[in-house]
Amino acid sequence: MSTRLAKQGRLIDRSKQVTFTFNGTSMQGYEGDTLASALLANDQMMMGRSFKYHRPRGVVASGAEEPNALVGLGQGNRFEPNQRATTTELFNGLTSASQNHWPNLEFDIGAVNKHLSRFLPAGFYYKMFIHPKPFWKHVYEPFIRQSAGLGKAPDKDSRDADTYEHFYAFTDILVIGGGIAGLQAAKAAAQSGAKVMLIEQTAHWGGRAPVDGGTVDGQPVDKFVEQLVSELETMDNVTMRSRCMGAGVYDHGYVLGYERLTDHKPGAQGPRHRLWRIRAKQIVTATGAIERPLSFAGNDVPGVMLASAMRDYVVNWGVTPGDRVIVATNNDDAYRTAIILKQAGVDILRVVDARATAGPLAEEARQLGIRVDPGKAIAKVKGGKRVKKVALCNQDGIGGAREEIECDAVAMSGGWSPVVHMWSHCGGKLLWDEANAHFHPDPERPPLGANGEGFVVAAGAANGAMPLQDVLFDAQTAGEAASNAAGFTPVTADAPKGADVAEAPMEPVWLMPANADIQLRMKSWLDFQNDVKVSDVQLAAREGYESVEHTKRYTTLGMATDQGKLSNINGLAILADALDSEIPKVGTTTFRPPYTPISMASIGGEARGDVFQPIRQTPMHNWHDKNGADWEPVGHWRRTYAYVRPGESVHDAVNREVKNTRENLGLLDASTLGKLIVKGPDAGKFLDMMYTNMMSTLKVGKCRYGLMCSENGFLIDDGVVARIDEDTWLCHTTTGGAERIHGHMEEWLQTEWWDWKVYVANVTEQYAQVAVVGPNARKVLEKLGGMDLSKEALPFMEWRDGKIGDFDCRAYRISFSGELSYELAVPASQGQAFWDALTEAGKEFGVMPYGTECLHILRAEKGFIMIGDETDGTVIPQDLGLHWALSKKKEDYLGKRAHSRTHMADPERWKLVGLETVDGSVIPDGAYAVGEGVNANGQRNMIGRVTSTYYSANLGKGIAMGLIKHGPDRMGEIVEFPGTDGKSYKAKIVDPIFFDKDGEKQNV
């Protein structure tokens, strides 16, 4: 059984007991435990089930590489699936549950998959789900959806209880990984005076060196680490963050660091995760190495673990995964596990070494009384939910002549692979090292920065340096190199002298035994989480998959949440063998960020809840909100769609506003409309280029409606332009167009007409602008007193500065409704007071505020177009009957040349008309008009579409505008608009001006 040892456990505090639950069972652990070590201490070896076959799975590793021990963590608003037990720090009250089984972990219906495994080979999905075609939608897709994903999604009504944030950090040198190499590299770099940041994914410094032992400058490794850490802590130019993982390396020395602030103390004040957005001149990757599993039959049975993980559990947490252990290896390092376990009182039944000879560590093991069998292999591990027996055989052979031994745990070691992820994310290349059978960074081909020089340096085990002395030397060199590359002068120093036992060469073992028969290969797991076996990769090769990237996707090797940290090298070695190729020729799959999954919420950072997105507010926003505003997003602005009174529907409110504005008095908050000041001796010339019509001839004090086209002739904006003085114009834009058109103007001024004397300023938000609209508009303003607003003093399409009541005001006599209308601009900080004054004074005149829907209906009744409704980026002024706004006098303006292209001048283009349903109903928004016949695809031919459609309360019927082929020539004809509601709408083509065709109402 797996159990807590009486001694050992350098990371746990035995005086502090911690209570937690797993699948509802209460268990005990210690402060400093991981969830995995605590589960093992409670003899909970089986922690989950695999994805495809639902096979029982136990923890196999002790860190970030863990593929099996994934749990659902927390409850309710703090529930999170797929959390690795090995990287989850234990805390009081932790609740966890295993995944991917039904009804429970011990008995799982889905486990029948394992009996079907011979029918679920590589590429099963591709082969199976193609035929017959109709099965896809009703049979296969529901089945796949049902079985997709490992953990449960959080409840749809739950909301993440925590907060998250970003932090922007800038450093000369970033060291990723706080093991012995990272610490030494950081020190070497910092001694140059460079600003150094050091991040470590776990809560502890020193990595695995204190477990693996050896000495540095004559003292034990853990003492050396302690000293180094306190030394770095006193250096002002060094920032150290533990629980902060290097997630990804990107161009220009940009790195994401994922800091887990309160995962180990949920509910504590402050954000849960912080995403560090780091800019570094140089990056040192000291990310260590990961041990590889061995591929033998039954290597996935709970109780089979990486040798290094097994000794981690003993040394770090005082937990042994078994009482009677067999160690299988192809290298000397695994003997450390045998020795450490033996010294901890665990029975080591055998070390099975695939090699003929081993080094001094084997001798040390023998002296402790451990039996070492050279040239031997594991033929098969037996047991379902737990290791029961191991059958041994010769490594050279097919797995016959077995000797069976009863045991309860197996430690395996297939050698070490440097963690090259961070090196590779941004294009660093790798070399194959024959002696150690691993890929390591090629220092000649690092990721390149903007200057063509490398910006990443690998250090220590991550660079392929394995013995302690090499690790320290390499780290010192890397730290110095990085500081030099960052522009500092390194203080060269000798690396501390590491010393540990010399090791005999390892031998690559990609399959155990070497010629294992198919029965064994079908039980030899490469990818534990996705259930990919040696036989699957071999089958893929036989079926013609030669590229490692294709094989990965065909077999799903390395595609699980662990991204193949354990399986990749073993898998591609099997593939290389099956293709009769060499491993470096087959190559690796692409390493992509993040290194391990990071929370989606950390990516969002602060952007959730109230600050998910900016909401732009006008000065009168709060008044609208208190007065029944039904909000409509317009860009980032919120505008009032309608002011809904108690007992009214939104539709009722719109109808009331529409009638009242035509009959009495309406107020519209028009503050969001863009206002650009264009000034300079060349401003008139410039605006003549910007607008299709003439603006340079506009007289001071007057206004003119203008259209803007892009270079390609399409309408991009419209609005009223006012000439303020000889040199100055004020251009109104649409609400969504203010920033865009400002940018458009600046672009032309900065890139094409840089010698024109024109300055533009965006003053949109300087003003609160209120449209006072309706037959009583003048009356209410005259009541407030101030400037002369008579027809004579301020005629239609003119503007004046003056006072209205107490307010400094610019009054524009313009109308988007067809009514008598003034748009009044006052300083934004007086906007609310001005609105209040109008509301108060307007009472006797029947004043009501109106929203954007009313605005739309009023303009549609008048046949005024709206950018974004009648236009969609493909519409030109000619389509909308706006020829009158296209200057014929001007030599040029943006869009003029484009309008002469054949397609633009084509008489077949759809053109704007009014549409009136024959029965008074409202045509659905976005409906298309159908004509005679069908197209090549058998669809009905389209002859036009609706662009705006409303119910007009003033006219008591549905009105619409649309673009129709030959529309203006077809007045009076009936066109058909099939709706998506099963009905078809018939509408008569009419003039788009439905109301007051002669414009008498606005001109009073």
Binding site: F167, A268, G270, P619
Partner: protein, 188 residues
């Protein structure tokens, strides 16, 4: 004239730093040739300051001038004086090609004060805010999470942040999140 009211009317919050809306600040956007003698004198007359260099902010209290781009300055004057100062400036600049325009009401201004002020800002703006890189006397036009923002330091523990008035509510809420208790980063 009715009493002008700033976007958030002096709202404030205290977390790991104190955040407050400062009320109305007179601001003039001045565009022109920054080496022009007439412009240099107009800036001096309005603020007592020289024309600032790149990313420089020369400010005392509510009067000063900030560099915004190679042809744009932000002139700060007391809110009550902005119309008068603008008129004087426009008059002085009448013979040269320049644009001076009142943008006081288009903006909101916040003060972030306290030992953690640098860190609060460092969560929202992609700017190196370490003491070596950013000091009183400098200005950055950057962004605050998803909106535009400019800021400078009044002293080593105090930032002033300018954003668009329409974004005032968003920026205030952002600053509150960034200054929430327990969120000290511990690097500045």
């Amino acid at each position: 004239m009715s009493e002008p009211i700033s976007a958030l009317n002096h709202a404030s919050y205290t977390g790991i730093a104190k955040v407050e809306e400062c009320g109305l600040q007179g601001m003039i956007t001045l565009r022109g040739d920054l080496s022009d003698k007439v412009l240099i004198k107009a800036v001096k007359d309005a603020t007592g300051q020289k024309v600032p260099g790149q990313r420089e902010a020369l400010i005392k209290g509510d009067t000063g001038v900030c560099w915004m781009s190679t042809d744009e300055l932000l002139v700060l004057v007391p809110y009550a004086e902005v119309e008068t100062k603008l008129a004087v400036m426009s008059n002085a600049l009448s013979g040269v090609h320049a644009l001076a325009v009142n943008v006081s009401d288009a903006r909101a201004v916040f003060r972030i004060a306290g030992a953690n002020a640098r860190e609060v800002m460092g969560k929202l703006a992609p700017v190196d805010l370490s003491a070596e890189a950013f000091q009183p006397g400098q200005i950055r036009r950057s962004r605050l999470a998803q909106v535009a923002g400019a800021f400078w330091m009044d002293d080593d523990e105090t930032f002033r942040v300018v954003c668009f008035r329409s974004a005032a509510d968003y920026v205030f809420k952002l600053l509150k999140v960034a200054a929430q208790p327990g969120s000290e980063v511990g690097v500045y």
